[in-house]
């Protein structure tokens, strides 16, 4: 296929620009597809040429208001329309598109040209700024996460109070935001307040607001977070750390949906969906007497328990992928992934800090890694090295026996050392479990190890 020099020059020019460009003929079949188009859509030029453009481009407007169709019909070019396309991996890629007609020498329309720009970086920045996360931002294919995904829509639909339990760094706020974005309240505010970080007096004024003159230096009325969240959702984070006095006030809000701002006797009604989060075992606190039972029952209407990262190791590669994409965009880098050896190290780590810790580890690696793959020496010092800091923890197991040992140890740990409960979960007889512990040489903690929940 011989090309004229002009055609060749055009091709070179098109391939050197960052925006995707493709052209279609009068039958909507793709006649050219530049390099950037290949990269953004994930479809190669060979596969794209000759295909219907909607089958390649897969845009959110293909059916309803295809920009090319409108442009070809009206003769008016489209400029900078923001939409999304689905790439070959099923990911939504936000793009801004422009379309124009292609005419021959006599001015007859023979096709169209569409250019599109990848807005992922902009989206990522916006998300960081506005913290507007959605369902799609939660990553996980493990059974534990699947169960949560199944529950999410129904819980989101209802107005009932939700309690999200999970260790530090498991994504409680992320889930709360996802719930909000799936709920009918998504067009109103989502407000988060950390109840554990503030002393009562400050918490009160933050939550309920105050009227001018309520105390020294209260010059103006200030609305509390509850009032700001009216119509929307409020997240009461670390609710287990709240003082008994504050607990009674919260109970009243939950029961009657009214409160008084400081310095006012006028009750204010509020229509807020309450989500509470904690990394404590609230049931235990109730038994101990430090948390009110009536408040507990008000909060515990629906409960979401977030798994620790070590209980969903199969999600680690997915999470690593997600973090790499995110940091690549935010830092304009081109890290390709992690090497096999690095992945092995990441898979065997215990993650007391859960997902947040994993994200920090990847961010750390990004500082040291210029591009290409992340190698073990890019990881934080505590993670590398042949000698493991944790006794009894083997390298990520490859043999069936080693995998079995790891799985059994995990199950026993999850049940606080209770062998019988672990055997039940594993679907084997307790005596079989004891036999395996012996033959596989599994080292275990004593029954009921000390509670590891950190405030």
């Amino acid at each position: 296929m011989s090309e004229s020099p002009e055609q060749h020059a055009t091709d070179v020019i098109l391939d050197s620009i960052a925006d995707g460009v493709f052209t279609v003929d009068a039958d909507w079949r793709i006649t050219s597809f530049n390099r950037a188009a290949e990269q953004i859509t994930g479809v190669s030029r060979e596969e794209a040429i000759g295909q219907r453009c909607c089958d390649v481009f897969r845009a959110s407007i293909c059916e309803s208001e295809c920009a090319l169709r409108e442009t070809l019909d009206t003769g008016r070019p489209t400029v900078n329309k923001a939409i999304y396309i689905l790439d070959s991996a099923g990911r939504r890629v936000p793009v801004s598109i422009s379309a124009a007609t292609l005419q021959d020498a006599t001015g007859r329309v023979i096709g169209g040209v569409e250019t599109f720009r990848d807005l992922s970086m902009v989206e990522e920045l916006r998300k960081e700024l506005e913290e507007k996360y959605t369902f799609a931002d939660i990553v996980g294919r493990s059974p534990a996460m699947r169960q949560l995904f199944e529950l999410l829509p129904q819980i989101a639909d209802s107005n009932s109070t939700v309690l999200i339990e999970g260790a530090s760094g498991t994504g409680k706020e992320l889930f709360a935001r996802a719930l909000h974005s799936l709920s009918p309240r998504r067009d109103h505010r989502f407000v988060a307040i950390n109840c554990g970080a503030l002393p009562d007096t400050l918490l009160e004024s933050e939550l309920f607001g105050y009227k001018a003159g309520a105390f020294t230096d209260a010059r103006h009325d200030k609305p509390g977070r509850l009032a700001i969240a009216d119509g929307g959702t409020i997240l009461l984070d670390e609710i287990g750390d709240v003082s008994p006095a504050m607990q009674s006030r919260l109970l009243r809000v939950l029961q009657e949906r009214v409160f008084e701002p400081l310095g006012s006797v006028e009750p204010v009604e509020v229509d807020v969906r309450v989500v509470a989060a904690t990394n404590r075992d609230l049931g235990k606190l109730v038994r101990k007497g430090t948390f009110r039972q009536d408040l507990f029952y008000r909060i515990n209407v629906m409960r979401l328990k977030l798994p620790e990262l070590r209980d969903r190791r199969e999600d680690i590669p997915l999470l690593v992928d997600r973090f790499i994409s995110k940091f690549n965009r935010l830092q304009s880098k081109d890290v390709a992934g992690v090497s096999d050896e690095t992945m092995a190290i990441l898979m065997e780590h215990d993650y007391p800090g859960n997902v947040r810790e994993l994200e920090n580890i990847v961010e750390h690696a990004f500082v040291l890694c210029r591009g290409g793959l992340i190698e073990p020496h890019h990881l934080p010092p505590a993670m590398r090295g042949g000698v493991d800091s944790k006794p009894g923890r083997a390298r990520f197991p490859r043999t069936l026996k080693a995998l079995e040992a790891l799985h059994i140890a995990d199950a026993i740990r999850r049940h606080g050392g209770n062998r019988t409960a672990a055997a039940k979960e594993l679907g084997i007889n307790p005596s079989t479990l004891f036999r395996k512990i012996k033959t596989l040489g599994i080292e275990l903690p004593e029954r009921e190890p000390p509670n590891q929940n950190q405030a």
Binding site: C54, E63, S88, A89, L152
Partner: protein, 130 residues
Amino acid sequence: MRVAVPTWTGRVSPVFDVAKRLLVVTLDGGGEISREEAAIEEGLLTARAKRVAQLGVDVLICGGISVPLEAMLVSAGVRVIPHTCGTVEEVIQAFASGRLTDQTFLMPGCCGRRRRFRGRHRGGRPGFNT
């Protein structure tokens, strides 16, 4: 078994997240028993997945579908066959006769990862092996 295909101008709709019409065909023993058209207005993914499940769909054959929506459908017990393109009639015929894995029905750019036939209840389901 009830097989659903989102349609647009007689072809499989390219993006299921925004497809407006769904053709639901009841198949039995390789032959079609009945078909009906349903309109899907829901924009919110969770509502969309719910609607499909409520229509009693066993298998959804679609074009592009975003990962969260696919996950929701699978959680709801619907088997999803993505990355399909072609005319609706040909696709249904191909599925009924087990030929849907042919290259011709595969959306461009998707052969790197062969279509994953994902669905929770594959085990006990009688009928088609595609």
